[in-house]
Symmetry: C2
Subunit: 149 residues, 2 copies
DNA sequence: TTTAATCATTTGCATTTACAACTATTTTAA
DNA sequence: TTAAAATAGTTGTAAATGCAAATGATTAAA
């Protein structure tokens, strides 16, 4: 059995290497687009805000799960949004460990205003990708994450 | 011309959403694998160390370019590696703004020791991907980054 | 040649992040 | 019913990151 020396991998051949750049650059684009709206909202704050809007009254754990952020991060982002009066928290009378999180009217108005902006920058990275290519890409990414789990 | 309401995008339909998780999870796997070697080396430190090894005597700017890290980050990682005696810096007599960066013997030995470990965890995310799929994935990622540039 | 512009590197700072530890509450099970 | 385990959320901290600005050196231009 012959030993074959493993091919030296250059960084540019590693998907992760590119993904890191894409994620970083995308964040810059998103941050800039949100910043231009003078809403004082970070990308993460937007994601959580939107998620609260779609799951009004849910717990922080649920928000953390759906946005894939850990508990401390979720707590802090939610507090930031509460301080901006975009959402509110209220102790769950059924389970006094939990807080139920609600969108405020101000929060709803902000979502309505920012949604078009977000939808615009979200399509930037996939410009020129066919539906098929997008689906395929998503599948590949899910496979990669599954491999790492 | 009829207005079509943009499809509400869920997070799970965004490639970036998955990429963030993949990158984070991959870092955990890599950090753990390196940690198990008791080398006291972070993932970023490894990448820079390896890059210095492949470009012995080059400047910090060049290291930063090849690893896609900004100047302050590059400076700090290089200093960490210098403190561990894995690399050394030396003023370039031709251009006294630049430092030339060299691998030490200790650095070379560490690379030799860690390389198999790194090659092992690097292939984890792509398990089950054919050559063709890997090439295609890389192409797609490059396209995405290009769209964002 | 002197000034201005550019370049390589460093420093400082504000923000983010991951991780561990802690409190309070509820659930489980002995 | 009471002790142990699990759950929801919070706090603290060390490290990483991104950005802006500063320093020292070189190059380009007036």
């Amino acid at each position: 059995m012959q030993m074959i020396k493993a091919k030296e991998q250059r960084l540019e051949q590693l998907p992760i290497f590119w993904m890191e750049q894409i994620v970083r650059r995308y964040r810059q684009v998103a941050t800039q687009a949100l910043g231009a709206e003078e809403a004082g909202l970070s990308v993460d704050q937007w994601v959580v805000l939107k998620q609260v809007g779609e799951n009004n009254g849910c717990s922080q754990v649920e928000i953390g799960n759906s946005t894939v952020k850990d508990a401390p991060t979720t707590t802090r982002i939610i507090d930031q949004l509460v301080n901006k009066n975009l959402i509110s928290k209220q102790l769950d009378p059924e389970d006094r460990r939990r807080y139920m999180v609600f969108l405020t009217e101000k929060g709803q108005r902000l979502i309505d205003r920012l949604l078009p902006v977000v939808q615009e920058y979200r399509q930037i990275p996939l410009q020129g990708f066919s539906e098929t290519e997008q689906k395929q890409l998503l599948e590949n990414l899910k496979r990669m994450l599954h491999n790492l789990a």
